[in-house]
């Protein structure tokens, strides 16, 4: 954590310790289905259990509010945290099973994470079966009114890019309820995790996430989603950020030359990013020299990265980048406050609960 600072941590992972946690939140049919078949919830997880960057926290910690708060937020350094429940329901092929598991995960969060969180310290992510956008939108409508849900979590990888018309119901529902949509590392199995097919190793998949984030943001802009939904806010989480200026140099230029094809896009891409997109801080994918990283954050064109970043621990995942946080002492005090607190405070619909 950051000693002495008021911090909002926008990426802390909670997760059911096992499918048993969700059984109380399933109806009779799905309870029997779990008991009598080989089905045990999502067959996939975004994080291979023994990979070094998955982190060492036991499943029981991620599944328990008190223990997670103690492990991730310490004794009060983080004023608030946003929970990213990457329960991979998109890997369930039966759409109704996927929807039932998503709903159970949300009711579990509402009851066991949000209801008892008197101070409103936690914001949670709505889990949706993104493979079926209509069902996902229904689920958002069902739980959006529960105080404490601040965003809808979508896995970064999808079967087609998220700007595609088929996904509109999800984004429209989030915008309707004033919720952020997080595009978070992970994603639809069955589709290769690179833009060029199947890689051989997890290391390739993880490093390739930045490219997918670029594809997704380009798609959201090109398909006019932000024009259709002017209040939509998107957080790109756990995909790095130093690629943002470089991607925008290219995207702005291509828009100038090719923009006639997409006449509803009336501003250069970086203006959409400034208005509609923020990035979580971890993993830090910048230069290891903190001075150089501070310059990247303060000085890049066409957009001031320091105004787009939000502090994240990504607990329990480990990126070996604690040292890199030294850049926070080298940026301006205003930028530091933005990254640690102010941007997230304005971005998420945190509620005061009693």
């Amino acid at each position: 954590m950051i000693p002495g600072a008021t911090v909002i941590d926008v990426d802390v992972h909670n997760h059911p310790a096992s499918v048993e946690d969700l059984v109380p939140y399933l109806d009779d049919h799905w309870r029997e289905y779990l008991a009598k078949t080989a089905f045990a919830g999502p067959p996939d997880s975004a994080y291979p259990p023994a990979a070094p960057n998955t982190g060492a926290a036991p499943a029981e910690v991620l599944g328990d509010r008190t223990r997670l708060e103690e492990a991730a937020l310490g004794s009060g350094d983080a004023e608030r945290a946003v929970l990213s429940c990457t329960y991979a329901v998109e890997s369930i092929h039966n759409p109704y099973a996927a929807q039932a598991m998503a709903a159970a995960a949300n009711d579990w969060q509402a009851r066991e994470w949000l209801a008892g969180d008197g101070g409103g310290r936690l914001g949670a992510s709505i889990v949706v079966a993104s493979q079926d956008p209509d069902l996902a939108a229904e689920e958002i409508d069902r739980v959006a009114g529960t105080p404490g849900f601040v965003q809808v979590l979508l896995p970064l990888r999808s079967a087609v890019p998220y700007g595609n018309r088929r996904f509109r119901p999800i984004f429209a529902a989030a915008a309707r309820h004033g919720l952020v949509v997080a595009l978070h590392y992970g994603g639809s199995p069955g589709n290769p995790p690179t833009a060029s097919g199947w890689p051989s190793y997890y290391a390739e998949q993880y490093a390739g996430m930045a490219a997918i984030a670029q594809t997704q943001l380009t798609s959201l802009i090109a398909e006019g989603l932000f024009d259709l939904l002017p209040t939509l806010r998107v957080t790109v989480a756990e995909a790095g950020f130093c690629w943002v200026p470089q991607w925008l140099w290219r995207a702005d230029k291509d828009w100038q030359m090719l923009g006639r094809e997409i006449p509803w896009v009336r501003s250069p891409p970086h203006e959409y990013v400034r208005r509609h997109v923020r990035f979580s801080l971890r993993p830090i994918d910048g230069p290891t020299d903190p001075q150089a990283l501070a310059r990247v954050v303060e000085e890049t064109e066409p957009i001031h990265l320091g105004s787009l970043l939000m502090y994240a621990s990504d607990f329990p995942h480990a990126h070996g980048d604690d040292e890199d946080l030294r850049f926070l002492d080298l940026v301006s005090p205003a930028t530091r406050d933005r990254i640690l607190h102010d941007t997230a405070a304005a971005w998420y619909p945190f509620s005061e609960r009693s």
């Binding site: 024009d227 030359m257 006639r260 509803w264 009336r266 970086h270 064109e301």
Partner: protein
């Protein structure tokens, strides 16, 4: 200001253009549906021969997948980097400088598009029954 004869009416039927040299300046004369418009044949971006570019209408959209084409032929697209200029005003619409000048004030035009800082020179054109004149 003087009127310069730049051609005969016959050689500039609607839908055609002619590039002429006046006072050492290369100028494109366009007949857009019977109306004559003239613009300097030099792109304010990097100097391309602007008047060799394709003509287009003004394309607008208020929603993805919905297109409205207005003012057919009144925009010329620079052959080098594709920026579009309004043949009536010389105004560019795709603004390269915004990517570099952070504090550039963006004004949104009537139709929702944003004018760029680049403006190509335009000139008044007149004609009588036989000849076309440009004024500069």
């Amino acid at each position: 200001m003087a009127l310069h004869v730049v051609g005969t009416l016959d050689e500039l039927p609607p839908g055609t253009r002619k590039i002429v040299e006046v006072d050492g300046r290369s100028i494109g004369i366009f007949n857009v549906a019977g109306e004559f418009l003239a613009i300097r044949n030099r792109c304010p971006h990097q100097g391309a021969p602007l008047c060799l570019g394709e003509q287009f209408g003004v394309l607008e959209s208020d929603e993805p997948g919905r297109y409205t084409l207005r003012r057919p032929g009144e925009m010329v697209r620079c052959p080098w980097h594709g920026w579009e200029f309004d043949l009536r005003t010389g105004q560019s619409w795709f603004d390269p400088e915004r990517t570099r000048v952070r504090r550039y004030d963006v004004k949104v035009g009537e139709d929702g598009r944003q004018p760029g800082p680049y403006v190509a020179e335009t000139y008044p054109v007149a004609h009588d029954r036989t000849h076309v004149y440009v004024e500069l």
